[in-house]
């Protein structure tokens, strides 16, 4: 199966990835090959087979008491942020 330019651009948009014009045909080619590769799965007989999400059968999501366990370290964490002001993460204006 071959994916077209528009499909690649649409996938890239959903994934929030900017692609250069030169990248589009490269991904068109390689994603088409990957889709062909995973197409091998079609031949497998899977009727009545329970989908497997992870390797630990019976693992239930653990819960902990609803109490505060973390201390406020926002200054430390925000040292990694590209842009911070008054302890807030800055992004381009969203609401006019």
């Amino acid at each position: 199966m071959s994916l077209n330019r528009d499909q690649i651009n649409s996938i890239a948009h959903l994934a929030r990835l900017s692609l250069t014009d030169a990248e589009v045909p490269v991904y068109q080619d390689s994603l088409s090959k990957i889709v062909d590769l995973v197409g091998q799965l079609d031949a497998a007989q899977t009727a009545g087979i329970e989908p497997m999400a992870h390797p630990l059968p019976g693992l239930a999501q653990r819960l902990r008491p609803d109490t505060v366990t973390e201390k406020d370290q926002h200054e430390l964490f925000q040292r990694n942020a590209p842009q911070v002001e008054a302890a807030l993460y800055l992004v381009p204006k969203v609401i006019e």
């Binding site: 994916l3 690649i8 996938i11 890239a12 948009h13 959903l14 994934a15 929030r16 990835l17 900017s18 692609l19 250069t20 990248e23 490269v26 991904y27 390689s30 994603l31 090959k33 990957i34 889709v35 590769l37 995973v38 197409g39 091998q40 799965l41 079609d42 497998a44 899977t46 087979i49 329970e50 989908p51 497997m52 999400a53 992870h54 390797p55 630990l56 693992l59 999501q61 653990r62 902990r64 370290q73 430390l76 964490f77 040292r79 990694n80 942020a81 590209p82 842009q83 993460y89 992004v91 381009p92 204006k93 969203v94």
Partner: protein
């Protein structure tokens, strides 16, 4: 002192043949000297290593040392290290200084180990050759024109060149075992849930597991004991006691039933590698084991299954890199969408983008059932194959990789060829079972790895089986000629 295993180093430190500080200085010099040839490290933590060494020397002098005190290691740069750059091999995290330690790092620090630095890796652990690293490829110590394998290529190359006696690593589809095989060292991917993943940067959450690359199985047994165990901070961590792996190393193998995975010998395996593997199996027969052929009919579908499941999970996990809270941000974004798209488009490398897009595609409306759900069903078939096999045999064996190390650049333009490198390793990740690779010989002067796989939580058995082989052979003690001398010129 660079050729000693961890177990030997522990004895020599106690016998005061040299101090932890002397050992650390010698290894740091090797790290530095090897860097232009191997590029195995992204960050060297010389200053903190020497501080840890000093503390370890004091603990040894005061009789307060534990079994791992003063033993050096390197961490794959996927494990968060407090106050130290943690890049995951990506431009996206080139400026990221972790504010906390991964549980694995915290535990091994507490055990008194000395961290030499952070090892190079494929970007976000996506690759089988270490060529996708933002910091450039790692070279194979046996031949610098060749890849070390990946994604834990820096860890494997560092141990193979005896720059570090042991290194942490992670394995989502073979990223510990395949580089261990290609570099001639020992690697273990433990059972899914055995080692905490808190602070281990996520790639595919139903597959990822932390482990080790070492010179011997004994060394890995020593460190895994301290590294494994329940962690409330990782919701997939399993609350099962950690056995004493070292205590079970010397059990005799008499009566051991080894299953040879028929599908692994059917197609694609290099003839010389096969010969090498069959000779290794002969060693096990001599040790009292019996060999039987087992069939895992769904296993040949493990590569296509993986290339749905892993990208799907990666596309979700890597959504956190948005250029807002940490990591790379593009210049002058014109609006929020532009900020997201260009930060991610410029911050991620080609392979990571390919996997994110593959995952986005297979999860998108209208395709979910055909791809993701189908792959999860085939994953169940593969899982059932392993279960059935472990009802018949104690361990499974076969090759780790279809061939020895290949040239840098040889497969980088064809993702499918690259993906097929993990054809023998992915099954263990899909089923969540533990698996090792141990050196078992050479083909065309390059190392070959034997893969040993066991049922869930059978790490002690794997170490026992690997250790028995390493007592009979010396493949794991061979080291590349360029790195034989203690002082590298």
């Amino acid at each position: 002192m660079h050729t000693f295993t961890l177990a030997e180093l522990a004895k020599k430190l106690r016998a005061k043949e040299f101090s932890v500080t002397e050992l650390t200085r010698a290894l740091l010099a090797r790290v530095e000297a090897s860097q232009p040839r191997l590029n195995a490290f992204i960050t060297v933590t010389a200053e903190s290593a020497l501080a840890q060494a000093k503390a370890a020397d004091r603990a040894l002098a005061d009789g307060k040392a534990g079994p791992l005190t003063g033993l050096p290691l390197a961490h794959k740069d996927i494990f968060c290290t407090s106050g130290v750059k943690t890049s995951c091999g990506s431009k996206m995290l080139d400026n990221f200084v972790s504010p906390y330690d991964a549980t694995v790092v915290e535990k091994l620090n507490a055990a008194g180990m000395v961290t030499l630095g952070k090892t190079n890796m494929d970007e976000f652990a996506m690759g089988s050759s270490n060529e996708t690293s933002w910091y450039g490829p790692v070279k194979n110590p046996w031949n610098p024109k060749l890849v070390p394998g990946g994604s834990s290529g820096g860890s494997a190359a560092a141990v193979a060149a005896r720059v570090a006696p042991i290194a942490t690593a992670t394995d989502t589809g073979g990223s510990i075992r395949q580089p261990a095989s290609l570099c001639g060292v020992t690697g273990i991917k433990p059972t899914y849930g055995r080692v905490s993943r808190f602070g281990m940067i996520a790639f595919a959450s139903s597959l990822d597991q932390g482990g080790l690359i070492s010179i011997t199985a004994e060394d890995a047994a020593m460190v895994l004991g301290a590294m494994a165990g329940f962690d409330t901070r990782d919701s997939t961590s399993v609350d099962t006691p950690v056995p004493n792996y070292v205590a079970e190393l010397d059990k005799p193998l008499t009566g051991l039933k080894i299953g040879l995975i028929k599908e692994f010998f059917d197609t694609g395996l290099d003839a010389d590698v096969e010969k090498c593997i069959r000779e290794a199996l002969g060693v096990y027969e001599k040790l009292g084991a019996t060999l039987v052929e087992v069939k895992l009919p769904a296993l040949p579908l493990s590569v296509p299954t993986y290339y749905v499941v892993a990208p799907a999970e990666c596309s979700s996990n890597l959504a956190r890199f948005d250029g807002v809270r940490y990591g790379y941000r593009c210049q002058d974004p014109k609006d929020l969408m532009d900020l997201y798209k260009r930060s991610r488009g410029e911050g991620f490398g080609a392979e990571v983008k390919r996997r994110i897009m593959t995952g986005t595609y297979v999860l998108s409306a209208g395709y979910y059932d055909a791809y993701y759900l189908k792959a999860q069903r085939v994953r169940q078939l593969i899982n059932q194959d392993f279960k059935r096999a472990f009802g018949e045999v104690d361990v499974l064996m076969g090759p780790t990789a279809p061939d020895v190390a290949f040239e840098i650049g040889a497969k980088s333009s064809d993702p499918i060829q690259m993906y097929l490198n993990d054809i023998y390793t992915i099954g263990a990740n899909l089923a969540g079972v533990p698996a090792m690779s141990i050196p078992c010989g050479f083909v065309r002067d390059l190392p070959v790895g034997l893969q040993i796989c066991g049922p869930h939580f059978a790490e002690a058995k794997l170490f026992n089986v690997a250790h028995a082989f390493q007592k009979e052979t010396d493949w794991h003690r061979r080291l590349p000629a360029d790195f034989a001398k203690e002082v590298l010129s």
